[in-house]
Amino acid sequence: MKVKVLSRNPDDYVRETKHDIQRVPRNYDPSLHPFEVSREYTRALNATKLERVFAKPFLASLDGHRDGVNCLAKHPRSLSTLLSGSCDGEVKVWNLTKHECVRTLQAHEGFVRGMVVRHCGTSFFTIGDDKTIKHWKMEAPGYGEEEEPLNTILGKAVFTGLDHHQKNAVFATCGHQVDIWDEQRSTPIRSFTWGVDSFSSVRFNPVETELLGSCASDRSIVLYDMRESTPLKKVIMTMRTNTISWNPMEAYYFTCANEDYNLYTYDMRHLENPVKVHIDHVSAVLDVDYSPTGREFVSASFDKTIRIFPKDSANSREVYHTKRMQHVICVKWSADNKYVLSGSDEMNIRLWKANAAEKLGVLSPREKQAIHYSQKLKEKFQHHPQIKRIARHRHLPKVIYHQKNELKVMKEARRRKERNVRKHSKPGSVPVVSEKEKHVVSVVK
């Protein structure tokens, strides 16, 4: 007779001393783990619910400005530094980690229209309603010294937008026309005009650094090459564009914030149709900024909310609002991809988490693993109705909620009317126009 009976040595399964960690023998045999799918589903549901529970995006409000915040600028070298310019011409430099203002200077009379930090991070430029471009040192003046700009250029007309070249000592302004300036000279080295009298913003392409994009008040977006003397091409839309922002990773894409409540992502090479139309705002969109990863962007709107859109999705994944936040004028995504900063009408700058449910601070490896696991589960079961409903739900202020519904009704009515018109006209005479095609009037080269 040969016999063997299961006989385990407990020493193999329990820890030796209480200072050791517990032993966890594993056996991945599927028959020992029944209800795999249902258990994973339950975990995914819990993870989704917890995500909504922990979604507390608002971190801090930086107050100190005495008028609405009109522009923000990121520091290219320091994550903790932020510059803001207000409607009374004051510029403040903030320390974000301490949530405090470290420097205040009266830069202009009237609005500070634009602000940009030089790529080296040692100085910055401001433009204002007093038709000047001022170049400031980043360091505060020493004790007893006057707060004075390094350089002041008096222009002929009001400047409305400003951006600095990625590497060279060149910057661009817009206003009456788009000007390219050398830092050493007091006159523009190049000026571009294309039959319009006012531009609202100008941005350098982050990769093809000689390219520029600007949006004009005649509802057009114009692209320039700095090396050429004439603009490249422009696209005219149905309504005016307020700001554009280039995708920092795929720099042939740019997104523009439009007055018609939408954002449009364009491919620079094919301006005939936007790549994507991003809807969801219920009022004019005032500013847009890409995340440094180029996967998402944040938009600020006149409807007192900011929204975060994935770059290839038509709807926003997140909406941030508070009771006190008024029209959001400017918005920036921090360079570490973790925070969003918004400056609004009621003189405050707000610091938000880019990922509302993210836990801040150092994570232990186990925490990280758990987060990754729940992220994967959420992804796996995202289309289940229950999970979808919970993950998608966002509370909206009453006004915006009703406005959204109203817009929906209007859109539906318009669609119905179009359908009826089509039905009662000669076949083919009323073509179906897609949402993408609707908003582009023409492309001029």
């Binding site: 040969k2 063997k4 009976v5 407990p10 329990v14 023998p25 991945y28 020992l32 029944p34």
Partner: protein, 591 residues
């Protein structure tokens, strides 16, 4: 890197042709050939050679052939092969049908997820080799029957700790006994018919609590931990803790005869003498469902551990399958000619074994609901129980027989057999141990059945050696991922499938549920017009106009359809004509 042949004209007689310079992206074979001809080359060539060697070394590295100092290359390059059977064990489902080319994003997602699952499968299969324990076995010598080997012989032959797992508890006062092992297999719960309830840490033989409930006990069951158990007493259902303190008396559950605990759902299913099947959620203490089965006394019950469906056996020979979501049975199977005496289901949820008053024991495939085998037992089996590794124990009178491979091969004789003192009342294999517990009229017997238990447990699921802290951790986690009772279905993986119910079908359900069609065309109600323009005739005329418009739509559509059909038919005709136009060899026989 120029070829050495080029640099030196002396060796030109070896080379027939002037060779093109070998560049770095070309294969290393050519270089190796060249190397043999480079003896006596100037310094420059040597250096080049060295570079070539280095290069080759680098090239070989990714092939898995690790260079050892001795110069030998790895004779078994690459990852070790995995036996196919092992891989099959961890396979979850078949290949997904690849989507069309233009769904490139979906295609990418599917490819990635497939790669990931394949890697997980391989890793699990590799890990399987490292499992520490092997299953037990019992082999007789030549012409020695394993069923003739007595328990005492086995207990003598094995080591002391294992030998101590065979024991008898002589409890002749309050018997016969029902029993239940906890999920980890450490704890044993005994319930005597005449009111004696005891829970024991059976391996250390430590008595945790013992009490007499002073009324008859029908069944006992552990709840999710070894700290709580349910006792079905004469009238009501009681819950005690491991110190013997009565925690709850649940009067909603009366006359309970049999109980089953669904560990992942935290549901206690009870079958009562009044014909009710009730589900109690033990995590929140609520009755989830009460189903009147309308089949009389329910004293045969088991659960399918694969999908948490409850199987009930009835005196008319049927076995019914129940879930808490449905008032009707999911399935009714006629299994025996007499009444059903006992039912059990294996852990993969593939086979159900029943025994009946007709003295037969039958094996069913409960995925296909088909009978597989039928055995005749002279006295019929009163209790059945399946072990984790698929051994079947059947109690016939006072004899406990254990069978092996009842579903794959026709079995003629038992694997093991043992006679206990009184008639058997309860049977149960201990999880993760080679032990079968038998409750009978004279007490309790613990038998050694080699090869019954799963040798390797999973520490995160049911760990027999867990500490108090680990148990607490596990309890919290298990409660968090409690499966809702709504998810109990015949196919537990149904949740993972794509819902292919077409819009049409879903819409139909909606219409049935609502009682009207929400997407249906609204009936045209003419607007009331002022100043006498809403005369009856006018209204009628407007109605007719709308109806006419609708009719035109319908006609347009049917005409379009007809045109399409016609086109298709024409095309087919043309095709046929083209085919028939060719002369075949058989055409000459045509008239």
């Amino acid at each position: 890197m120029a070829s050495p042949g080029e640099a030196n004209a002396n060796v030109s007689h070896v080379e027939k042709k002037k060779k093109r310079p070998v560049r770095y992206w070309q294969g290393t074979e050519g270089k190796a050939k060249d190397d043999s001809k480079t003896e006596g080359q100037p310094e420059q060539q040597k250096r080049q050679q060295n570079r070539i060697k280095k290069k080759r070394k680098r090239d070989e590295q990714p092939d898995g052939g690790k260079k050892v100092i001795s110069g030998k290359s790895d004779p078994f390059p690459g990852p070790p092969p995995i036996p196919k059977g092992k891989l099959e064990k961890f396979k979850r489902k078949g290949e997904i049908q690849k989507p069309l080319q233009h769904h490139y994003k979906l295609k990418d997602i599917i490819t990635r997820s497939e790669e990931a699952s394949e890697m997980a499968q391989k890793q699990a299969a590799r890990f399987d080799l490292l499992l520490p324990e092997d299953a037990g076995f019992l082999e007789g010598d030549e012409d020695e029957d394993t069923c003739m080997i007595s328990q005492e012989d086995i207990a003598d032959a094995v080591d002391i700790t294992s030998g101590a797992k065979h024991f008898n508890l002589k409890l002749c006062q309050f018997g016969p006994y029902r029993l239940d092992y906890s999920r980890t297999g450490r704890h044993l719960l005994l319930g005597g018919r005449r009111g004696h309830v005891a829970c024991v840490d059976w391996q250390s033989k430590q008595l945790m609590c013992e009490l007499n409930v002073m009324e008859s006990v029908n069944d006992v069951k552990w709840l999710h931990t070894e700290h709580m158990f349910a006792v079905a007493q004469k009238k009501w259902l009681y819950i005690y803790d491991s110190n013997g303190i009565e925690l709850h008396c649940i009067r909603k559950f009366n006359d309970v005869l049999r109980m089953q605990f669904l560990p992942y759902h935290f549901l206690l299913a009870t079958a009562s003498a009044t014909g009710f099947l009730q589900y109690l959620d033990v995590s929140v203490g609520k009755e989830v469902a009460a189903i009147c089965t309308k089949t009389g006394r329910l004293d045969v019950m088991c659960q399918n551990p694969h999908n948490a469906v409850i199987h009930l056996g009835h005196p008319n020979g049927t076995v019914t399958l129940w879930s808490p979501n449905q008032k009707e049975a999911l399935v009714k199977m006629l299994c025996h000619q007499g009444g059903v005496r006992s039912v059990t289901v294996d852990k993969t949820g593939t086979y159900m074994i029943t025994s009946g008053m007709d003295k037969k024991m039958k094996v069913f495939d409960i995925r296909a609901f088909k009978p597989l085998r039928s055995y005749f037992l002279p006295t019929g089996a009163s209790c059945l129980s399946l072990s984790q590794r698929g051994l079947l124990s059947a109690a016939t009178g006072d004899i406990v027989q254990v069978y092996r491979d009842v579903w794959s091969t026709p079995v003629t004789k038992p694997y093991m057999a043992h006679r206990v003192r009184g008639s058997v009342w309860g049977l149960g294999f201990c999880p993760f141990e080679d032990v079968l517990g038998v409750g009978h009229g004279e007490g309790f017997t613990s038998m050694l059945i080699p090869g019954a238990g799963e040798p390797n447990f999973d520490g995160l699921d049911a760990n027999p050696y867990r500490s108090a802290k680990q148990r607490q951790e596990w309890e919290v986690k298990a409660l968090l991922e409690k499966i809702q009772p709504e998810l109990i279905t015949l196919d537990p993986s149904e949740l993972g499938y794509v819902d292919r119910a077409t819009f049409e079908q879903r819409h139909q359900d909606r219409v049935e549920a609502l009682g009207f069609d929400p997407l249906g065309k609204e009936k045209f109600v003419p607007k009331h017009k002022k100043k006498g323009r809403s005369s009856a005739a006018g209204i009628e005329r407007r109605k007719r106009q709308v109806a006419h418009e609708d009719q035109r739509d319908v006609i347009r559509k049917t005409v379009e359809d007809r045109m399409k059909l016609e086109e298709e038919r024409n095309r087919m005709k043309e095709k046929k004509a083209a085919l028939s136009g060719k002369r075949s060899a058989l055409d000459r026989f045509k008239k």
